[in-house]
């Protein structure tokens, strides 16, 4: 029973981190219809930047996290400027292929700067003590992941629902030409989405690194972890991404706890199997917008 409770709670916390990474994908998908395959690499870059700041420059973790977010914003800006803006108006497929290229480039840059050595850094951005519920123990790094992901989800959802710029982003994703004709600066909107998406990736990368270490494998592992969450959550909903993160995280943990011994390696497969099963019954994912079709 205790093992089960521990697995559930850990799963929820880890899932929240996956959810945060997936929210970065949602932001970009929502505004430009592009599936950013470089998201995992961006997570890794964020993790390494925070690692350098905290380990090499011995900054407190919260300061490292804030500086890392600023750096990620800058990286998002550069990516948009060098890669995505020249491709604006091309088919989403072209742009998705560009993100594949981006993935290799980021990987190369990370290898050149940080190499293959892992970074291990403090496990809390927000200082929290261990929380014990009965015999179940929640460590600070897990709680940090949960809190930050939930706050990010609420902030992003409100921003997109209520604010003028957020509505403009949704409008742009539907019809760029029309958006431009009402005076929305489409290029600015796309720029903003890449900045927000990169910041989400960076944060998720830091939290991901806190669970163990930041290393050169994180880009791929991170991407494989957030793809099922992203698809499962319905591609366009922040709440969907968070809840899907919870579900995937819990399933992952349960598989790790109970099945891993008998079927080694199954932990990484279960979320993808789950994703396929769900897509058969709910093609729009859990919270996807159904496409409006009128005849």
């Amino acid at each position: 029973m205790n093992v089960l409770m521990q697995a559930l709670l850990d799963g929820i916390c880890i899932g929240a981190i996956y959810g945060l990474g997936a929210m970065g994908l949602v932001v970009i998908q929502k505004s430009s219809g592009v599936f950013n395959l470089a998201q995992g690499m961006l997570m890794m870059v964020g993790g390494f930047i925070a690692g350098s700041l905290s380990v090499n420059m011995s900054l407190p973790m919260w300061a490292a996290a804030v500086l890392c977010m600023l750096a990620m914003a800058l990286i998002g800006l550069i990516i948009n400027f060098l890669v995505m803006r020249p491709l604006a108006g091309e088919s989403p497929f072209t742009q998705i292929m560009a993100t594949v290229g981006l993935m290799s480039i980021l990987y190369g840059i990370v290898m050149a700067i940080w190499g293959t050595l892992p970074y291990i850094y403090p496990t809390e951005i927000i200082p929290i003590e261990n929380i014990e519920i009965g015999v179940v123990l929640l460590s600070p790094s897990y709680l940090n992941g949960l809190i930050i992901a939930v706050v990010a989800c609420i902030v992003l959802s409100l921003y997109y629902r209520k604010s003028r710029e957020g509505t403009a982003m949704r409008a742009t994703s539907e019809d760029e030409e029309l958006a431009a004709s009402v005076g929305i600066r489409v290029t600015k909107v796309l720029q903003l989405t890449w900045i927000i998406g990169s910041i989400c990736a960076g944060l998720a990368g830091i939290l991901f690194g806190m669970l163990g270490s930041v290393n050169y494998m994180m880009g791929e592992i991170g991407l494989m972890a957030i793809i099922p969450v992203f698809v499962f959550g319905g591609l366009e909903s922040f709440v969907g991404a968070l809840l899907a993160g919870f579900i995937v995280g819990v399933v992952n943990m349960l598989a790790g706890t109970y099945l891993e011994v008998t079927f080694p390696g199954i932990t990484n497969v279960v979320p993808l199997v789950l994703m396929l099963t769900i897509l058969i019954f709910k093609p729009y994912g859990l919270f996807g917008e159904e496409r409006i079709e009128r005849v």
């Binding site: 509505t167 029309l178 009402v182």
Partner: protein
């Protein structure tokens, strides 16, 4: 003159020569219609004015467009929108996953003060009372007429000096067409907004406008006051489908290619 177009030429994708010489003048608060058959270049003319042409690989290769005495050929769409030129696209283009009110608010995206947005919303609801109860509905599920009202409302939100309306009657029931055209006329008179109306429904368009231009094959070939155009022989034959006597015409008597030749020269 509010808007002056002189010998405008437009090429798509560097090869397709769509507009070959369009000239128009629209006075302040004018109510003008642009007529022509399919593919004559009416929509392209509107897109050239509002600047969205550049988003679809079109380019202005000759002539000029002046608004309020200022060249706007090379301005970006949002800069042109800021000047008060607002286009409603053909085929009821809307942000269909947004609610009616969000759509209207997007129309007023360039308004900086909240008070003005509210004021403008009030105004739109005054012209289209039916939209009030639909304000929180997802606009993709509204009926065609309601969507068209919302789209004209959205244009009105942007504090327009001139509205470019591309076939607002497309695909609507005749009664709805009448209602919408009436409101357009009312907006023109009460809000001092100039209107450039593109229509296939020639009769209705000539009835509510003061002046008209006719396009064919990328050129403006004829213009005049709507009253005069209504009785023009060519207009009557090609667009209203009537002969001199005013009776409907049978196709077997038509030999219109000869008359058309004269226009094309």
């Amino acid at each position: 003159m509010l808007l002056v177009i002189q010998n405008l030429e437009v090429v798509y994708n560097d090869v397709i020569w769509v507009l070959k010489g369009v000239s128009m003048e629209i006075p302040e608060k004018g109510m003008v219609c642009l007529l022509g058959a399919n593919g004559a270049g009416k929509s392209t003319t509107l897109k050239a004015i509002s600047g969205v042409l550049k988003l679809e690989w079109g380019e202005i290769t000759g002539g000029f467009i002046e608004f309020d005495g200022k060249r706007i050929n090379s301005l970006k769409p949002q800069e042109i929108a800021e000047m008060g030129i607002i286009q409603c696209f053909e085929g009821r283009r809307l942000f269909k996953h947004l609610t009616t009110e969000e759509n209207l608010r997007m129309g007023g995206y360039l308004l900086t003060s909240n008070a003005e947005v509210r004021l403008r919303l009030e105004m739109v609801y005054h012209y289209f009372p039916r939209l009030v109860e639909l304000r929180d509905r997802i606009s993709g599920y509204l009926s065609g007429g309601e969507q068209q009202m919302m789209i004209i409302g959205r244009a009105l939100m942007a504090r327009p000096k001139i509205m470019l309306l591309d076939e607002p009657s497309l695909g609507l029931a005749p009664l709805m067409v009448k209602e919408i055209l009436k409101v357009i006329q009312k907006i023109n008179q009460e809000e001092q907004v100039a209107i450039l109306l593109v229509e296939q429904n020639t009769k209705a368009a000539l009835a509510i406008t003061n002046y008209g231009f006719v396009m064919e094959n990328g050129r403006t070939v004829l213009d005049g006051e709507s009253e005069k155009l209504k009785v023009n022989e060519d207009i009557k034959e090609f667009y209203l489908g009537l002969t001199q006597i005013g009776s409907r015409k049978s196709f077997k008597d038509t030999k219109f290619y000869k008359r058309r030749k004269r226009w094309l020269a």
